[in-house]
Symmetry: C2
Subunit: 195 residues, 2 copies
């Protein structure tokens, strides 16, 4: 699998998130890994790339991020639909074996303990930009993207290729209660050249 | 058209935005209307419902929102693909007739001067929650949703019905440079009941 994971230039990292997919958030602190799902993640800036993510006070991932100052935002695919729902509805706080039970496979793309979820299409390694007021008042966290990767079977040359990669590579977009939509057909709003 | 625009309960308003569509942002101040596109809008809270939107300092819409304290986030459809791209790439600052030139049709669902864009599938009327540090540092604006509506040909009973409403009702999700993806097929991560 690793041979398909390629770096994404930081100036194009926002494109991994621009279409609003539901994401997985992973973090590590003091020997503990966790992964949760988040529909409320969004690009915030181009250069340096930043993003926002909403992390409820009840989540263990929030605690790991506050303590370690690092996290990963990654884009799950249709293949990970069930897993995304499972890690989004079960908590490490009352299920210490959550990651094993849900079958999450972790990678370590940054070369250290920071966990990345295998099977995703894009990964954004983030450094927490501390904003205590936002975190306390709105559960709103800001990350600066320090590195990014994508699977070159669906994202290459700075673009998604959902239309040729096959249905199983589509991003998934949660509405409520386990109901998702996959990303659909490509459309261009630009006039065709030479036509 | 108006007979299809129905109120959405505030506790379900987040669902209009949860799947990460590119949105249109509209506002009004002192006789001036504007509409822009934004890919970086995201739900922030359930009750009361709140959302975030990133508004560059160069946009006229930002000035209107800062002065009036009100704005609308609305979900354009495939039918509004070209219009979404046009209002996202042209500025009222140097094109006073932008709205007429791009063919934007405005509604007034709140019963006053606040402009809503016709042809969308969902509308979130927002009150600005002033956060000067976020606005100045990150171009990040927070809105509290005070009312919501949807077109009942694609959103009813608290849910999107993209799968039956027809392709032209799909939400659109911008990547970069006028390249979008439409929302795609429905998927459920929940075990089937009774099966």
């Amino acid at each position: 699998m690793h041979e398909h994971i390629q770096p994404v230039a930081l100036e194009k990292a926002y494109r991994l998130l621009n279409h609003g997919p539901t994401v997985l958030v992973s973090s590590h602190h003091d020997g503990v890994d966790n992964v949760m799902a988040a529909a409320w993640a969004c690009a915030l800036d181009f250069a340096p790339p930043k993003l926002t993510v909403v992390l409820d006070k009840a989540t263990k991932t929030r605690e790991l991020i506050e303590k370690s100052g690092r996290f990963v935002i990654q884009v799950p695919t249709v293949k990970l639909l069930r897993l995304t729902h499972e890690v989004g509805t079960r908590s490490l706080a009352n299920e210490p074996s959550k990651l094993q039970d849900t079958g999450v496979e972790l990678l370590h793309l940054a070369g250290d303990t920071l966990p990345f979820v295998a099977g995703c299409s894009g990964w954004l390694e983030c450094r927490l930009v501390p904003e205590p007021h936002n975190q306390a008042t709105y559960d709103l966290f800001i990350g600066e993207v320090v590195a990014a990767w994508a699977d070159d079977r669906v994202f290459y040359d700075g673009h998604w290729h959902f239309e040729t990669a096959g249905r199983e590579w589509g991003s998934i977009h949660h509405i409520a209660g386990g109901h998702f939509y996959a990303i659909g057909e490509q459309m261009s709003a630009r006039p065709k050249r030479g036509g």
